[in-house]
Symmetry: C2
Subunit: 651 residues, 2 copies
Amino acid sequence: MKVKIQDTFWTRYRELVRTEMIPYQWKVLNDEINITIERERNDDSIPNEKSHAIENFRIAAGLKEGNHYGWVFQDSDVYKWLEAVAYSINEHMDEDLKSLADSVVDLIAAAQEEDGYLGTYFTIEEPERKLKRLGESHELYCAGHFLEAAVAYYETTGNDTVLKTACKLADYIVRHFGKEDEKIHGYDGHEEIEIGLAKLYRITGKNEYLSLSKYFLEIRGTNPEFFHIQNAEDGKKPLIVGMDKFPYSYFQNHMPLLEQESAEGHAVRLVYMCTAMADVAAMTKDVNLLNACKKIWRNIVDKRMYITGGIGSTVIGESFTLDYDLPNDTMYCETCASVGLVFLAGRLLENEFVGEYGDIMERALYNTVLAGMALDGRHFFYVNPLEVVPEKGKKDPTKSHVKSVRPEWLGCACCPPNLARLLSSLEKYIYVQKDDSIVANLFVNCESRFSVNKKLVTIKQETEYPWNNRVLFTVSSKEETDFTLGIRIPNWTDKYTIRLNGQDCNIETKQGIAYIRKVFKDDVIEIIFDMKVEIWDAHSSVRNNIDKIAVSRGPIVYCMEGVDNGSNLHLLSIGKNAEFTYQFEKNLLGGVVVIKVNGYEQISNSDRNANLYQKHEKVRGIQEKELTLIPYYAWANRGENEMQVWIRCER
Amino acid sequence: MKVKIQDTFWTRYRELVRTEMIPYQWKVLNDEINITIERERNDDSIPNEKSHAIENFRIAAGLKEGNHYGWVFQDSDVYKWLEAVAYSINEHMDEDLKSLADSVVDLIAAAQEEDGYLGTYFTIEEPERKLKRLGESHELYCAGHFLEAAVAYYETTGNDTVLKTACKLADYIVRHFGKEDEKIHGYDGHEEIEIGLAKLYRITGKNEYLSLSKYFLEIRGTNPEFFHIQNAEDGKKPLIVGMDKFPYSYFQNHMPLLEQESAEGHAVRLVYMCTAMADVAAMTKDVNLLNACKKIWRNIVDKRMYITGGIGSTVIGESFTLDYDLPNDTMYCETCASVGLVFLAGRLLENEFVGEYGDIMERALYNTVLAGMALDGRHFFYVNPLEVVPEKGKKDPTKSHVKSVRPEWLGCACCPPNLARLLSSLEKYIYVQKDDSIVANLFVNCESRFSVNKKLVTIKQETEYPWNNRVLFTVSSKEETDFTLGIRIPNWTDKYTIRLNGQDCNIETKQGIAYIRKVFKDDVIEIIFDMKVEIWDAHSSVRNNIDKIAVSRGPIVYCMEGVDNGSNLHLLSIGKNAEFTYQFEKNLLGGVVVIKVNGYEQISNSDRNANLYQKHEKVRGIQEKELTLIPYYAWANRGENEMQVWIRCER
């Protein structure tokens, strides 16, 4: 499968990654740019003077003298940058960038130790503590990111060094972890190596990589005390202050994975873990592992996910909390967690063609993931709130993580490069193919080639999604080819029509996917979704959203911003029989559909000098007001202001 | 003025203090009771193994060997206990308790150093750091509590040792602080010494105590860097981890007191500071100081106070945040802060006869202060939420401070003894007198003697307040006495009638106080307040209370509890023309008026398996349901359950 995107909506983002984010991030990694690195929350232990990530490699490689600076997982910023570069030059070759990336590969290889160990913090600062404090060390987490980057870079460029370095590192890990007595019967505090090993297995075919990935998943949670025991044996100061105090569930090692029934702990870790579970399940046909993964998925989707596709309801531990606990103004909803949710949805879809996986992928992608970056590609959110009053983030220290302006960079810089690698590899998520079944999952202008029963089939998608409701598939094949084309029917649409070569047709829909089975040659399939403005209630157990509604159109969730609606958004409401109108505004926010609706503004005691508590007024003073809604992903691009997704509604 | 309380409502509490709290707290201070000391929030640095407070004194006095245990301010628990004992035996002499207290006084005196220094932590552990880290050391805070206790105990018992010890300590402080070059130009991180010095001045007449109290208030905030400079000079590890990182405003030293216009920082500190400002203003006739205090008071009352009289909107720093920021489920509302608000209101009332001071005192006293303890007098809340879902406090670490069951004791045990000393000295707040004007501020069954123009006047109050609306004042004087009797008209009442000796009469009301000026001999004044169920809106800027109402009757704020109304309290609402009924239930919760109201329960998607997000239903499924409300102060006395003060209302 080879997919080439040429899409108004997405190409803008992908060009931004190529022309802005990748060069910008390179400068940041080299401390060559004068920016303010903000802490993602009030916490003195977060390093925010500089990135120093490339310098760490130079020092580890012996090319320079100095100390390591930054988090123990600082290396991963470089790996994710390299992975984004790999995808980017795969789409759009840039020889200068490739040379630069080649030199980074050489630098990484030079920083690798003789035995394969790779990790600048321990190489530079504390070699004696290698693999001795895995709950905090992120050594395998970083390794996993390097393996992902290496596979991507090798696939694009055929660079031999990167593959050799990756295998040497993987072999080191295989030598140190596993069920054999002399090996460590443990795992990393932050899942990721499991994904990296599975990818490396995919291109090398080396069974030991897949086996070790599976081993990490199988042993996790069977020995919840593992990190505590390691920490006690280490006896030295923590690598990350306070992390040794987090509960087992923070690391998802409170019970064996097969027994876990809910999404617990650090949200990014959880989705990375589930991604690996789905990966390994697909490669090993392990039904139990897949079912365990699906159980956690169900809990996320049914009870622990924001309407924006954000996950992680609390700042402490950046964690899940409990079912239906989805506060709008104190949540975490880390950009990386939604990136991970896209990965997970994609992997589940590869296991089973179920439309819901694509629905959730779309929800996360078009809303929280895109909200993670400014339209300029140079400012980033770590935390993605659904309700913001800027003053609160500044004056209430428990909300210090809720920023109302995207910082230029973050002390923990996991999110920006994660965005870059996802956006630049978006073509991987548009179609899924299994044998002679191809499913169109995302709707993006693109031209794609498939090999079906050894025949070459080309499918061209034409659409103005997400703003327009029509998608045209043009299938062409030199020879007649019998296969099944599935098209995901998004869950936000009530009805749709499919026309095959100009004729209305009834198509079988199974688990949210419409399937056309025929002998294709030159065929045109047109699908038109009913894409009206939709309004949503949250489940009544979501306490914060009672009496409120959310607005969407297509995959896009909408919000109100102060710049359009004034401050005190909490005083606004949508009328009982409100009429929504929408219009594409090409000069606004890079071109968006704006929704307007007749609503109300409460005025009764808006006088700031009124008493704090007053006798109840049965009839509120309200006045009509037109409300303007913009796509959630585009908020905070017009200065600091209030924002709100869930809006009060009159009944 | 001598006030003797004999009141159904309050005597129960005061007897509880005498027969339960004082003996119970004594056992806790001596580690003689097997209880679970809970941390008030998830924070490993909170000592919770034992109290050790008395043992610390024994060690400091050289009677035992060992180390200090507990907070640097652990001594203050003993002082507040002693103060409560003083008030208690003043009301109800108990020779055994007095002997015990005398021995505690002797122990404290023995722990005092030659030069007057008193503070077990520094005497035992780090004498070289005395007065060197005042931002965290609480040395003057503890001293202030000792001075308060000493004055109370001396006034009750005439114990000479306690007064001498207090003066010796005060003289030590006078020698070390002040504007002279050789003295420290600083102050304690936690205000309290200012109150203690003012009290000691009152009974000793020693000007230097009052001057130093004033000095502490005047210098505060003129040198915001003071603590940082001291910490840097000290250079050793903090006495309280993290406290050196708090902003200036946490300590109220961000600007001079006369310039402060809002209530900032740690709520208890702020109200203690304001209490001292009002004290010193009264004693020195300093109008500027009084006006500065009133400015901060206005900000609290108009913009930063919960309807329950709770203050402090956030857990980090136990602090105020910003105007109208009053979240119901993450707030702090520390019991001590409302105790302090009662102190402050009382001091302001002594400065000026303004009904509002009594209104707020009543609000704090009958609601948050009383909620701070269980009906059994042996379990205590530190934090007083207005909305609780027990699971959230357990599973969301940012809500670890929001407990749904009162602990037996707390790692930081400031609140229980603060409750004890306030409740056992309640007689101080019932009347205020200035020359020939006496104002009845609280409505409590009591008999009181006043000296007016050198004549003895007795006033008897008879009432079933807070459950009943009638208060009878019987004034008797041997000789005819010309004076003014004021009666506070509570702000929750719309109308009232006053009958003087059986005759309706029109009385002048000024600033919320009705005044009767006459020549009294034997007179009966009956006042009947309109005491119906009242429903309240919050100011529309309070985002969390939009579309919600609170219910009160008289001074009592009501709440719904799960035990009466089932769980999912957020699904309940009060109807548009709801009719409230109420009834006194003598066997419930020690005897309370219970309110019932016809309301609704939303049922539309209460099915726990419904989708997390569903197309909006214009017409909600609701069913009628009778709601039961109990006094807020009495919540959490019938097992763990949900609780909610602000209730959704239909419009």
